[in-house]
Symmetry: none
Subunit: 204 residues, 4 copies
């Protein structure tokens, strides 16, 4: 087996540098997409040389993969945090409202990342796997959270997956008020209504 020449940063300075590359990649991929961003630009934006980029990452795609992980966490962290603060009795409408709000905020900060991720996830095996695993992880995590809250739902995985997608969708739309024929406050209320109904539905 070939010995990898990629540095695994342990030192604080190294970790910072690697993070700078990821941050630079994130911004550029979002702004211009993967294929329209070149490695020199990433290096420049990170304030280092191309050579250094390549001492932290195998190749350009490896940067993209790490950017994806970074982006994923950026989205989920604040949501998970929100659930830590819950206290009984639950006000479903308020909780869901907050989650959606968080999601919208995140999307405002990273509109493009999501689409870029989706795009690469079909033409690239590795990206496909990463996004696939991420979705799975998120759905199962939320199912677990609901379970811990004592909320028992029939077909929980399927429902959460649907809900997760709806929230994603709304956030993406609302973040930029894409369509004029849509009132985004109304839309949010419709989605919240839908979610509450789904969660409350214990079958017939």
């Amino acid at each position: 087996m070939e010995k990898s020449n990629i540095r695994e940063p342990k030192q604080k300075r190294s970790i910072e540098k690697k993070n700078k590359i990821i941050e630079a990649g994130y911004l550029l991929f979002c702004e211009k997409g993967f294929y329209n961003t070149n490695t020199v630009e990433i290096a420049e934006k990170a304030g280092i040389s191309v050579g250094t980029v390549y001492s932290y990452f195998e190749d350009k795609k490896a940067i993209f993969l790490e950017v994806l992980k970074y982006y994923s966490e950026k989205i989920l962290m604040p949501m998970y945090a929100e659930f830590e603060t819950l206290s009984m009795p639950l006000d479903l409408h308020e909780i869901i409202s907050k989650i959606i709000e968080i999601s919208v905020q995140t999307h405002m900060f990273s509109e493009a990342a999501h689409e870029e991720m989706l795009a690469m996830s079909h033409s690239d095996k590795d990206v496909k796997k990463l996004t696939h695993d991420f979705e799975e992880q998120v759905v199962l995590k939320f199912a677990e959270i609901l379970c811990e809250l004592g909320i028992n739902i029939q077909n929980v995985n399927e429902k959460i997956h649907i809900i997760y997608n709806a929230v994603e969708f709304y956030s993406h739309e609302a973040a930029f008020h894409k369509h004029n024929f849509i009132n985004y406050d109304v839309m949010r209320e419709e989605i919240i209504k839908m979610i509450i109904k789904m969660i409350s539905d214990r079958g017939y």
Copy 2:
């Protein structure tokens, strides 16, 4: 103003040729994505020369734009057709089931196109506009259809947009049974249930 050298095909043979390029582009973009498909391949698959491709299209992106339109119609046509055959009294569950079935079929044939489209739609202004307009058109069209069927719904645009997204999402997932922890028959029923509730909801 710059004189355009792009031919607007009037002759039958010319139109056929242009369509062959679009079809070839569609297949290749779906299979490998925009950036991993080159113009020589498109020409070869269309059975003509690169030079000829450039007499019908300004550049590679122009092909993509036309492919997008072609793809959009491919998705919508069979759905619209379905609505032509409706007769009273409406069996909502059956109608929605059929629509979803059509959507899934379409996705099985063009998994990648959708994602590729999304991807380009953020890094490219022209693509962004096209997809934006397409969504708008579809939502308004369905709202109109419902109206013609005598179904009056509060917040109809918002609801249809949500529903449209849910169907898209389900089709995409189901077409390839992406996740093992999801039972796609169960998921479909949940989505149908959700849609019926949304449509039936006339406010309080």
Copy 3:
């Protein structure tokens, strides 16, 4: 299987162009070695663009491989030709003298090619195979020629291989009078003497 994009030239102009690339590669590889010659230089020397070079050759190494074949023939052709003119009775000393003369001439024209070939033949599998096969072909060809001349020699393959090497060696040395402590006329006579003895030796 991947369809190769390498053009197989049939047209006269194409063949000429491919030959120009080979000739350019030959001159440059000889002058500066494989690793110190870049693809742009080859293209420039051939009077075409880099892109065109890559439409005739898979990669830089493929050029080298063809250069090798070209070089091999350049060496052998005039030798084979010499044997066509032989008439009885054979004057061994004269024949061998002539062969050596031809070999020296060739080496004067391509000193470096030989060494470069040897060098690459150990670090590169494909080059190794090519040179290996070439040697084999040459030895067997000469064995055949001797046989046709009615000259029967014990251990013919082994002897010819030894002789072939000695001639190569001498040519390489003599072409540039490398060493001052060597008298190359004397050396040639010693080699001819050796060859004659070897050929004349029918065992004990």
Copy 4:
């Protein structure tokens, strides 16, 4: 004059370190060739840092040059040693056999070094000079040895050069039994026969 920053090691530890670099370079150049070995690898194999390598050697080529000297001695030492043990009367066949055996052994250990050396020796002036001088030294040394043994040969330099080359050639071939159509035991006997005849020939 430019002040050289290259350290001339006097301390035992320093000399050991320099030798480690040479040994590492030798192994790597043999295995992968000059251009496919990088300085980091050499440093790693030598168990030191790149920076340190550059405090002992001006540049990469300087390492190669020293490796060449090291390699040369590795080949010659055991041969010279063999001659120390000779006693009268000489059994030529046995002596030559032994020399060839030693040469084959050396080649089995350093197949590639020889070719790599040849390769560089044409594209690089310094390497050319080194190999040239080495050959000269060897031939003159053997001439001297023969002289000391009381063996007087006409055209001694030329003959030894021819013989030296034949032994080199045989060793290289035999070490790896390159060709199937050659019987290497037979070939060795032919070469020994040739050498004996050459040495025994005192002119007419």
